[in-house]
């Protein structure tokens, strides 16, 4: 295909904003008199943070939905351009703040791809544990929040209790429950603590029954089924067209999982199934999440069984801070520590994109490096942002009461969407 440049006419920002504003105000139909515009959010219990939906209602039926985002915009991508690669790790905690560990891992893997590093097997196994535990934690939250949105608050508390147990594990591993900041480019801040594996095993053993309890409260409950079945149906084609990812894509019956399609870490060594749905409605997305948790448990058990020994970090002493004991006593190490801290990584120029299968979907980092310790441009492909893009198509035709169900089943996090 010959490469041709196409001229795109972009109106200046002022005109664009004015046009968007006018489009918001413009009556969509002639019979606007019968319709009511309902502003849902940015602070509304069902919008999981600060999503704003401008709903046009005909009675209780939605005729038009316009999502309005950006209430949690922090300019993370711009911030990244002004700090070293490792300094940005705490900022990744705050993307999908329900799965900070897997954000850390995805970011570290992205920068490592730029550095052309491969971390040792034990490091990979630890990262797999991070990813899967945070997947369980995120799905527990998603599941609980969806139930909460449909009025079943108790399920939310039950999943929260389980999540707390995971947070104890995270605390043991990273020293923090929520903002883990666990990985660094080329490894992680510390090896698995002594009691971590037994505690993880204990969690995995206890987790099944608890999950079954939630399952029993909801899955075959007709009230719940009525609220979710055939609500918010996303067809395969639309799911692909809107570039959905994660459980929302698989709920529509598309077998796409980056852990399978482009195995990173050592996911190809573990045996697990990609869970897909068939109808693409809220119910399917709910079922997929429950089953994915079971698959994560399966992966975790395998990781525990196969856990290799050895180092956890890349052995590049020019780019990694040396161990503290040597920094305190040896000249070369002290110098390298100083230079690595003040100048950051010696990253090569170039650009990379790396995506990981995060609980919410494909979390991608595009890094454009001009060399040195600071990225020239860092773009985050946030799954929640992309997943939410289908809302204007998905919501019309639903009732107001279906909005929480649909939003709950999409399981998004505004921290990531607005970043």
């Amino acid at each position: 295909m010959p490469f041709t440049t196409r001229e795109i006419e972009l109106p200046d920002p002022v005109t664009r904003v004015a046009a968007a504003d006018a489009a918001l105000r413009e009556p969509a139909d002639a019979d606007i008199g019968e319709k009511m515009v309902l502003n849902m959010g940015p602070s509304h219990p069902a919008t999981h943070g600060v999503l704003r939906l401008i709903l046009e209602l005909d009675g209780e039926i939605i005729t038009k939905a316009t999502p309005d985002i950006g209430f949690l915009h922090r300019g993370d991508e711009k911030i990244a351009e002004n700090m070293q690669y490792n300094q940005f790790v705490p900022y990744t905690d705050r993307l999908d703040y329900l799965a900070p560990l897997s954000n850390n891992v995805a970011y570290a893997l992205a920068v490592e791809k730029l550095m052309a590093w491969e971390i040792p097997p034990r490091g990979k196994a630890i990262r797999t544990i991070c990813c899967e535990t945070s997947r369980i934690s995120s799905h527990l939250m998603g599941l609980g929040a969806m139930a909460l949105d449909l009025g079943a608050m108790t399920v939310f508390l039950y999943t929260f209790t389980e999540r707390e147990k995971l947070y104890d594990l995270f605390e043991l591993l990273t020293g923090a429950r929520f903002t883990t900041s666990y990985t660094r480019v080329g490894g992680q801040i510390r090896d698995l603590p002594e009691h971590f594996i037994p505690q993880l095993k204990k969690f995995l053993d206890d987790f099944g029954p608890s999950l079954d309890e939630c399952d029993k409260l909801l899955t075959r409950n007709r009230i719940f089924v009525d609220r979710t079945k055939d609500i918010g149906v996303i067809s395969k084609e639309r799911a692909i067209a809107y570039a959905l990812s994660g459980p929302n894509l698989r709920g529509s019956g598309i077998e796409h999982d980056l852990r399978h399609k482009h195995p990173y870490l050592d996911y190809d060594n573990y045996d697990f199934d990609v869970v897909i749905g068939s109808a693409g409605d809220c119910y399917d997305r709910y079922l997929v999440r429950i089953e994915e948790m079971r698959q994560s448990v399966r992966i975790l058990r395998q990781v525990i069984d196969k856990l290799p020994g050895g180092p956890i970090n890349v052995a590049d002493w020019k780019n990694m801070t040396p161990p503290k004991s040597r920094v305190m006593t040896k000249m070369e190490e002290l110098i390298h520590h100083f230079i690595v801290v003040t100048e950051g990584l010696d990253a090569p120029p170039g650009e990379i994109y790396f995506a990981a299968e995060n609980p919410k979907g494909e979390l991608g980092f595009y890094i454009n490096s001009r060399g040195g310790g600071v990225p020239y441009r860092l773009k985050i492909r946030a799954p929640s942002f992309v997943n939410l893009s289908i809302l204007p198509e998905l919501l019309p035709g639903c009732m107001v009461s279906d909005v929480p169900a649909v939003l709950g089943s999409l399981d998004f996090v505004m921290g990531e969407c607005d970043r």
């Binding site: 009511m36 309902l38 502003n39 509304h44 219990p45 069902a46 209780e60 139930a147 909460l148 949105d149 449909l150 009025g151 079943a152 608050m153 108790t154 508390l157 039950y158 209790t161 409260l217 909801l218 409950n221 009230i223 719940f224 009525d226 609220r227 009732m399 107001v400 009461s401 279906d402 909005v403 929480p404």
Partner: protein
């Protein structure tokens, strides 16, 4: 007018008001504790022993909060609505017999001959509080809540009315004291065969009576806006519905109204189906004032048990959708209640045989 009658009536009114208001505030506390226990939490346990002073703290908190009236609200109706929400719920209790007799005085404030109709009539006024509140707030979420509430209450009032007809077919009287007296003689309406074990017709009668009980109870759930029927305030959809724009004591009145409605609803259920103040083996107040007190205690114990069920259900189930709720009310409960009446009517002629 008889002076003694006035005095005893006043005493009863004051007494029941104190009890009901205390129960309401402790129902809020109980709700929080029960929900907490169901959810593996502890609930309020800091204010006073086991958190028992929490309602007082809540009251002070709500009293001291800023009482905010939105500028666009219709002020008069905005202020009126919370009062309308509380009043009917409390007035209803006037005709409910909450005990047998104490020192020869019947433990019912007004034993009118159309007792149950009175209950329905006053309860049906309860919807005004919500509808007016939703309308007067001049805001979209309360408005949606108000509309939902008016439709929902109307729909379930039908089932409510139809569900009690079997009771009155049996009793032949709308007076609530007669209902209780009938149950003392013939067994509670959820088990109307007591005392007449050998009559299979009466056993058969139990089936429609239990259906009646269930329909009535579910309708009361709907009437009191309790989950799974709490659509007018649906936290996750309407973010609180009709009471969004209310704060401070006005919000507290709504809260009070909801719990008062729940208590009077339970009291009516107890009276209609669970034998009122009667408990097998405990004689009534004519055998001594101590038994009169015990009768009252039994009544409130039953009410408390029902309230627990209210809470238990609330913290277990998800919420219906608006159209599902309406369909359920009109296509399911309405029909069932109707069929149930015919069923009872068909069985009734045979019960007195044998």
């Amino acid at each position: 007018m008889d002076f003694a009658f006035v005095v005893t009536s006043l005493l009863k009114i004051v007494g029941i008001l104190v009890v009901i208001l205390t129960m309401v505030s402790y129902a809020v506390y109980a709700e929080r504790r029960v929900s907490a226990f169901i959810q593996d939490r502890l609930g309020p346990n800091r204010v006073g022993p086991a958190g028992l002073f929490q309602p007082i703290a809540d009251m002070f908190k709500l009293l001291l909060k800023e009482d905010f009236t939105p500028r666009s609200a219709n002020t008069f109706y905005y202020w009126l609505a919370p009062c309308l929400a509380v009043m009917p719920a409390i007035i209803t209790i006037a005709v409910v017999p909450f005990g047998s007799t104490l020192f020869g005085v019947p433990m019912v404030i007004a034993d009118v001959n159309v007792g149950i109709l009175f209950v329905f009539a006053i309860a049906s006024l309860g919807v005004y509080g919500i509808v007016i509140g939703g309308w007067a707030s001049n805001s979209k979420y309360p408005f949606l809540g108000g509309i939902r509430s008016s439709a929902q209450m109307l729909s379930y009032e039908l089932s409510l009315g139809l569900a009690v007809i079997p009771v009155f077919l049996l009793v032949g009287n709308l007076r609530l004291t007669s209902v209780v007296r009938y149950q003392i003689e013939h067994g509670w309406f959820i088990a109307p065969f007591v005392g007449d074990w050998t009559n299979p017709w009466k056993w058969l009668l139990a089936i429609p009576m239990i259906i009646s009980f269930l329909v009535f109870m579910i309708a009361i759930f709907a009437e009191t806006n309790r989950l799974p029927f709490d659509l007018p305030e649906a936290e996750q959809e309407l973010a609180g519905g009709y009471n969004i724009e209310y704060s401070s004591m006005k919000f507290a009145l709504y809260f009070l109204g909801e719990y008062a409605a729940m208590i009077t609803g339970s009291a009516v259920i107890v009276t209609l189906f669970l034998g009122g103040w009667h408990f097998p083996g405990i004689p009534d107040g004519s055998h001594g004032w101590i038994f009169g007190l015990i009768n009252i205690a039994v009544f409130f114990a039953k009410v408390a048990a029902l309230i627990f069920i209210f809470m238990w259900v609330r913290w277990t189930l998800p919420r219906f959708r608006y159209d599902q709720l309406m369909r359920l009310g009109w296509l399911f409960f309405f029909e069932i209640a109707l069929v149930n009446i015919f069923l009872v009517a068909a069985i009734l002629p045979y019960t007195s045989r044998l």
